[in-house]
Symmetry: C2
Subunit: 344 residues, 2 copies
DNA sequence: CTGAAAGCGCTAACAC
DNA sequence: GTGTTAGCGCTTTCAG
């Protein structure tokens, strides 16, 4: 057991109050007293007890990150940025997985942990905005992704509609005419896939092209592979596939290549998220790149502000994104350098 | 603020002791009393205060996962398994990143957080086994990966020497003769890369083949790409590359393919870790697959046992692995189904 | 500037 | 079976 305040105080010949002042560096302490106390602290290897501090009414220094799955590259990269940036706020990140299950999301939102953290950052898949607002008085919540919650909750997202429309326009401009979208998730109340579909439809409508939409259960490579198989069966002449996640796109591309299709010759493939795998895929994957460090920073700032001002109006923070045009969608010759389409 | 024990007790007309008994389900309580108390608990939405419990001397219910980087696919997948399994132990996972930096590892090991968690699971890169044993009396530590710590610390790992030797033998058996290894990290005190190199050398020596070893700084795709570029410059006739991580292998393969080499025709590529990207890469990546769920389970069990018995002798837990032979190393015709090489 | 002491919410030893 | 109460380590109000 390590030393406590009282032991330090006794040994330094001062009161606990003084030691506490030295530790927190808050109130004024006579320089020589401070030095003496500090020496004893070092000697005894004193470390303040976080549980006691927390109980006394302070922060726990913990922020829960509630995600469908941490092993997914997109969420993994995001978690990395969050963990890095959290340090600046003296927060430690706690990771909880939901598998996208509504009941599990509910549990984690209302459970014991939700009360012991200073705040939650969550990417909800199963719970609707309505469900999310209905919760007991616990730590503040910041949502990741589109929420359409009627402005009832803090959330941070990119402009998915523009992003999807821009990427679809790129496919059209490079000569594609039968452009399928893979990744609609009508069973999810979460609005992200719907927004991307909206952008896709808008761009196609502008060009007067037909649409072809493929629904998926989840966003993994295997779902992309299955969707591609279905797609090729239904429409062998498809010449571009826009997937709503890079993982879907990687799965789809895998199937296309093993069927002997040339990418991007016969088929353009594009994704969403800009995960590292896509950059090193063969061919490298065209994608929408959300500014992940900015998402992480925004989520933390938002939480900090909410903590400071409980009844500020909820905020919707829009984070920049850009198009990464790579060889999975750009035929031969010279690869255009990635164009920038910044939002806000 | 939610209700506390005393308020529940008053409202139910019993003492806090009784309410505590009901909540913890420990001591005997008269059925009707229990029911009455339970009703009040539900009414008031009472939730035990974790900080108070922890302060009182109990567990915090927190386990720190200290990793070089959570965004790396291998660690991400591992973290996912750990988070899932942790629930069975009533633990919540807390994630801290070191970037592989020794100083940062030291900080996290000795810092305030290390005292407020029930235990730590760590994958050390910068700190030597000696450094790791020298630490203040805080929560128990379980190491991930080879440690060679002279049996001073609990750790869980696969048999890296056998795994690397088996994979190298596979390359030899399929006709490769100039087999390079990419991924040595002589600057790291961490023994993992060294063990893999050992297995590689053993297999080559058995076959009387020359070795060609390439050192890398880190284990990312870009390092693999750079290493491959160097390798092709030094030895254009290399016919196989065994990378000590799948990420390295993916980077290396990317370079090989963009140089117009055929994989596996001209060059076999193999990795280590069996991350999901490798399964959907083009061609799919041959690799060593550690049993990640087993690693997660072993780490948690080990921690739980250490908590129960502080002075049990430290344990080295060896987890099974198998070879996944895929098209990046197996030429044309039929792909042999993945052979199994189980350890222990 | 420093000291004494209350109390955060809980568990468990000690009564009855 | 149930009630009373000390005390975990800290912050902070109130005195001095």
């Amino acid at each position: 057991m390590s030393a406590n305040l009282r032991q330090v105080a006794e040994r330094a010949g001062v009161s606990v109050r003084t030691v506490s002042n030295v530790v927190s560096g808050f109130a004024l302490v006579a320089p020589q007293t401070r030095e003496r106390v500090q020496r004893v602290i070092d000697e005894l290897g004193y470390r303040p007890n976080a549980a006691a501090r927390h109980l006394r009414g302070g922060r726990s220094g913990l922020v829960a990150l509630v995600l469908p799955e941490i092993a997914s590259p997109y969420f993994g990269e995001l978690a990395g940025h969050l963990a890095d940036r959290a340090e600046a706020y003296a927060w430690t990140l706690l990771v909880q997985q939901t598998g996208g299950d509504a009941e599990r999301e509910r549990e984690l939102l209302d459970g014991v942990r939700a009360q012991t953290v200073d705040g939650l950052i969550m990417s909800p898949w199963g719970l609707s905005p309505g469900d999310l607002t209905r919760r007991p008085d616990s730590a503040p919540l910041v949502l990741l992704g589109e929420q359409d919650a009627g402005g009832l909750l803090d959330h941070v997202a990119i402009d998915n509609v523009s992003a999807a429309a821009d990427l679809t326009r790129h496919l059209i401009e490079t000569g594609r005419r039968r452009i399928a979208a893979v990744g609609l998730q009508p069973h999810l109340v979460n609005g992200t896939a719907a927004r991307r579909a909206q952008g896709y439809r808008r761009a196609l409508a502008e060009a007067g092209l037909p649409r072809h939409e493929i629904t998926v259960e989840r966003l993994h490579r295997e779902d992309g592979a299955a969707a591609m198989t279905r797609l090729l069966g239904a429409d062998p002449d498809v010449d571009a596939v826009f997937c709503f996640s890079d993982q879907l796109a990687l799965g789809a591309m895998h199937v296309a290549l093993s069927r002997g299709l040339s990418v991007p010759g016969d088929l353009a493939v594009a994704g969403f998220d800009d995960i590292e795998d896509g950059r090193y895929a063969n061919p490298a994957l065209t994608t929408v790149a959300p500014d992940k460090p900015a998402i992480a920073e925004a989520a933390l700032t938002c939480l900090a502000q909410r903590l400071a001002d409980r009844d500020d109006p909820p905020r919707r923070i829009v984070v920049p994104h850009r198009l990464e045009l790579r060889s999975s969608s750009v035929r031969a010759e010279r690869t255009p350098s990635s164009s920038r389409h910044r939002t806000q």
